[in-house]
Amino acid sequence: MKHYSDEELLTMFFEGENPNYAFNLIVRKYQEPVYWHIRRMVICHDDANDIVQDVFFKAWQALRSFRKESALYTWLYRIATNEALTFLKKKKKRYFLPINDVSRILEESLEADVYYDGNEMEKKIQKAILKLPDKQRVVFNLRYYDEMKYEDMAEILGTSTGALKASYHHAVKKIEKYINP
């Protein structure tokens, strides 16, 4: 498959004869990073599958009003982050749970998920990550797994790079403390 730049894809979407085809190319280009970002937040594959579809559905609805002020991929990540956080909030409300119980439930999902086969160390790190507050988890995952620049993270999360660095460093310390007590 030919690799199109974001600019080419957006031009195809807005000016081309077949916006559906252009959108399909956008989905193909970003489905994996968006899915993995969501999956690390909600843990369960089935939930991540539902949410990633919601994300692209919302992107389809909103793309016409996309102003190109941000990059396409940071825009998609922003939708994905919001959807994942909203899902977790709903989960807490649905079960009337305080946050620590939600992290316990996510841990149980991790143990039960047939599509998880991390080694002992990876599992321990995941459990440590699940103990972080949701927003800090987003920050840690974007930096550690997605290798994202702080500038892009700032655009996605609407936070200063200084705060993101601090939050990430803090998360690393907490995880370190958990895995090497």
């Binding site: 594959h45 579809q53 991390g118 990876e122 599992k123 936070t159 200084g162």
Partner: protein, 175 residues
């Protein structure tokens, strides 16, 4: 999507004296076979299905009748609303003072609600009270002056409440 240099991420972890190594840690998640081959098709199907759904309509109710009913209801509500406010202003000359008090009461309740919600939220925190106080005293949090933004403040505040530090004390420290 431009990724940051792997080396800079590793160096950052090294500076934090962390044993974490992203190159040896994929997270351990996987997906069913051919998942990413079928996902675009599933999304495409969903878009077609949703696009075919009819716009909002009340079957069997003629449009003209519906519009007339809505206009009547709106007019009636408008008249009742105006009458209520005219009468209230005539009877109560201290409406503004009452309003201020109402807002103060509202904020007080809202603040208590937030505290209770935050209490739950920070149960998993890792900060000690000393760390929080240290950060508040210094007015910075590892990096620069721009750290007291919404997200970080929220986190510090939440954890402080969990550790029993009075919110009033925190607010005065921030001043």
């Amino acid at each position: 999507m431009k990724k940051d240099n792997k080396e800079s991420i590793r160096k950052e972890l090294h500076e934090l004296q962390s044993s974490l190594d992203p190159s040896k840690d994929t997270g351990g998640f996987r997906v069913p076979d051919h998942f990413f081959d079928t996902l675009p098709g599933n999304i495409s199907n969903r878009l077609s299905t949703e696009n075919k759904k009819p716009a909002f309509a009340l079957p069997g109710l003629p449009t003209k009748r519906l519009v007339a009913s809505l206009v009547s209801i709106t007019l009636l509500a408008g008249i009742l609303f105006s009458l209520f406010y005219l009468q209230r202003d005539q009877l109560n000359g201290y409406a503004d003072a009452d309003y201020d008090q109402l807002m103060l009461d509202y904020y007080a309740i809202q603040f208590d609600m937030d505290r209770s919600a935050l209490y739950d939220f920070v149960l998993e925190s890792g900060l000690t009270p000393e760390e929080i106080l240290f950060e508040l005293d210094r007015g910075e949090f590892i990096f620069g002056d721009d750290v007291f933004d919404e997200m970080l403040l929220e986190e510090i505040f939440e954890q402080a409440v969990y550790y029993g530090i009075e919110s009033n004390y925190l607010l005065s420290s921030l001043d």
